[in-house]
Symmetry: C2
Subunit: 188 residues, 2 copies
DNA sequence: TATTGTTATACTCTATAACTATA
DNA sequence: TATAGTTATAGAGTATAACAATA
């Protein structure tokens, strides 16, 4: 079912490579292009299917995705985080996090603790119920997702995790540089 | 709630330290969880940085991302597509595609051709300018993205493409089944 | 009656701008 | 003056519902 057409598509694209070296293989170059669409598609599929929302529901959480994202960020960190740190981990902007945290506070899933060294800052911390909720959510999602990878060879699973981690790091690092270079600098 | 995979590993806090790996299974299980957040983060980073919008601009395209998505879907297919086919490839819903196509039509980047076998259907086709625009866009994005992977070993690049492709296919397939099973079925 | 696509509308997520309070 | 966070507002992206035309 996987339409893996040879895709002569790249043919007409002038390989104005970074002038480093002639592309090792046009095939690779062509395939490279497929990485970004796949990430987009994957993300869109996850959004549309609402797996995460279902998992939240299964965990007894009446929370939308961004709120769950905050919970998971805190759980993953294993330590209280500042608003700005949460925003960076979620790759969103400050005010967005402020609102999510307020909602979570009202439900008693997180609490604020003052930073003794800087009174502008407030640290966000999971409460007991918040920790439980996050754990239930994780269990639910993991149950679903491990089914997806159940048939994969161990080596492939390992490689996927490793490569995806590196890709994420490399991309975010490069994007950060891009922003510094000026908001109007064209990619490349 | 509903039956979930037995999963003792997640109950407690992960990421204590990858260095010691006495229980490879547990570690993997814990790490597995990191895959989804990374995809989310990657996607968010790409959105926020507007790489794609910059590339569109660099290609002389005053189009938003969804419209470019349609263009790229058509270019990748290499053949005219129906509205429904575009929607499926983009993992979005029909009406959304209708609107994007209308915008592209006005700019002369795509055109509709009637399907002789089914008069309900109209096939969407890239025009000459549309093809050129799509190619310019691809060149621009590729220029940026190949920079990200430039330092990667060939083997890793290959593996990334292969694994990401399979992951996308597996996930979308499983999600499709999930939808069929009823819109209220919990993940599993 | 089922399928393909369209129109009209509403909602979710996230960003930007202007502000407050510390530093 | 610079930084962390908040309030208020705006916009992009996508979904749902009701409908039309063809099969």
């Amino acid at each position: 079912m996987t339409a893996k057409t040879p895709d002569p598509a790249e043919a007409s694209v002038p390989s104005s490579g970074p002038s480093s070296a002639p592309a090792p293989a046009d095939d690779q170059h062509a395939e490279l292009l497929a990485v970004l669409p796949r990430i987009t598609r994957l993300s869109a599929a996850l959004t549309r299917s609402r797996v995460t929302d279902r998992a939240a529901e299964a965990a007894g959480l009446a929370l939308d995705r961004p709120a769950v994202g905050v919970l998971i960020s805190l759980r993953t960190a294993g330590t209280p985080l500042r608003i700005g740190e949460i925003a960076e981990r979620m790759q969103v902007v400050g005010p967005h996090v402020t609102r999510q945290v307020q909602a979570l506070e009202k439900r008693g899933l997180v609490r604020r603790v003052a930073d003794p060294h800087d009174r502008r800052v407030s640290l966000i911390e999971l409460t007991g119920p918040g920790t439980d909720a996050a754990n239930r959510y994780v269990t639910s999602v993991l149950g679903w997702f491990s089914g997806v990878l159940a048939d994969w060879p161990d080596q492939d699973r390992e490689d996927l995790i490793r490569l995806l981690t590196r890709l994420t790091d490399d991309v975010t690092a490069r994007l950060a540089r891009l922003e510094e270079d000026g908001p109007d600098a064209p990619p490349r």
